[in-house]
Amino acid sequence: MLKIKGLDKRFLVNGREVVALQNIDLDVKKGEFITIVGHSGCGKSTLLKIIAGLQSQDVGTITCHDRQILGPGTDRGMVFQEHRLLPWLTIRENVGFGLQGIDRKEKERLVEDHLRLVQLEGFGDAYPKQLSGGMAQRAAIARGLVNNPEVLLLDEPFGALDALTRIQMQKEVLRIWEEEKTTMILVTHDIDEAIYLGQRIVVMSARPGEIKAVIPVESSNAKDRGSTEFASIKKRVLRHFFAEEEWAAVEYAI
């Protein structure tokens, strides 16, 4: 449903050109779960924002259901890398921010459900600045989920979460993906997470930001963190991160 073809994106930083994305090709099927990993600054967030319709590419086309993406649409939701909670809305209002045109009662129910889901019951009336970093990130996840969009773009959504909360959130996202058949594109730095969640893992390289490899996670066996498939996929992904000479040293540490 999502077709990206020959995407280029450059930024001007102090007169110098920074190539954020170069020649990106990617087809995402409906209901697929894609994870993206790559070096810091390689253009992952930029790619997500272009898909969301918040930025425009310099070159290339990107279509959703065969229609050019020219701007944001309610079919695509996004959780930003920074939480972007509106400081003047309470957590409850922030979570319900994008919910429009539905019954007030229904809206309240949905918001409460999602607050519970991200374990923020009791903080509905707090303002963003009264939350810890991880709590704010969870509120942002709730805001992204509550709208139930067809495509959900998640930019390092669990980065500020502790191990336990993270596992719980991962499970919730998987559950929603299975139940709602949402197409998910998730950026992460945690390779375990990328394998655990993704059906395909997109590995990107930095400056210019290109797609180095797309690694499928086929058998459900591979989702098992103890399995050899898991370990072998992890190795394949990591391999792309390191230069030959480093690899030997790092391999062992994994």
């Binding site: 918040l54 944001p72 649409g73 972007r84 809305l89 921010f97 429009q100 600045k129």
Partner: protein, 224 residues
């Protein structure tokens, strides 16, 4: 040079006596009520116009470019120079006095609103765009609260200028009002009355300013 000439700066004693006299005769209350009603009317119109126009100009580059040249030029032109035209368009009744106050109070509100709206962090606007909220909702939920502190500064300044403008407005055919009283007393060298007028306006303005601050405080719980 004398810093205190009783003809211009009378003793506090004398000022107090005048105040008591003016208050007792009921004249002060009448003047205050007349001017207050003008200030309130003009101020409300100025705030409404300023916030609405400022929002449009802040949110739309097209409208900004379209209007800003004219409005910026008008903004520089002295109120006193406008008075003949104001008489032409609004007559010499209440409308003309209110028009003068609007002319004075409008621009601080407008300029601050534009700036406040334009400084809304793009990150938040993007969130609203993401959800394809209507322009009105984006305004209400993103631009307005973000610009509120600065709009409020414009409203504070506008309120002060309303009181400043009331004197100019009451140079047009007025027979009551605190601004008229001050001009009248000035031409009659009644310094005590001038000072009473200044103090009354100062205190009244201060009270309204405080009231505004209170409303603002209530309206922005997240800043606490």
């Amino acid at each position: 040079m004398a810093l205190f000439t009783p003809a211009i700066l009378p003793s506090m004693d004398r000022v107090f006596k005048s105040f008591v006299e003016m208050a007792a005769s009921g004249q002060l209350a009448e003047d205050v009520l007349v001017s207050l009603s003008r200030v309130v009317k003009g101020y409300v119109v100025a705030v409404a116009l300023g916030v609405v126009m400022g929002t449009f100009m802040g949110m739309s580059d097209f409208l900004h470019n379209f209007f800003s040249l004219t409005l910026n030029a008008i903004r520089q032109i002295p109120i006193l120079a406008w008075i003949p035209l104001i008489i032409l368009w609004f007559g010499i009744g209440e409308e003309s006095k209110i028009a003068v106050i609007v002319l004075g109070a409008y621009f601080p509100v407008l300029v601050n609103t534009i700036s406040g709206i334009r400084q809304t962090p793009q990150g938040y606007v993007e969130v609203a765009r993401l959800y394809r909220l209507s322009r009105w909702t984006v305004f209400r939920k993103v631009y307005l609260p973000s610009a509120l502190p600065q709009i409020f500064v414009g409203m504070k300044l506008g309120l002060g200028i309303s009181w400043v403008a009331v004197v100019a407005s009451e140079l047009i055919a007025a027979s009551a009002g605190i601004g008229f009283r001050i001009s009248d007393a000035r031409s009659l060298m009644q310094a005590d009355v001038v000072i009473v007028g200044m103090i009354v306006i100062g205190v009244l303005g201060l009270l309204m300013d405080k009231a505004l601050s209170l409303v603002f405080h209530k309206a922005t719980p997240w800043t606490r």
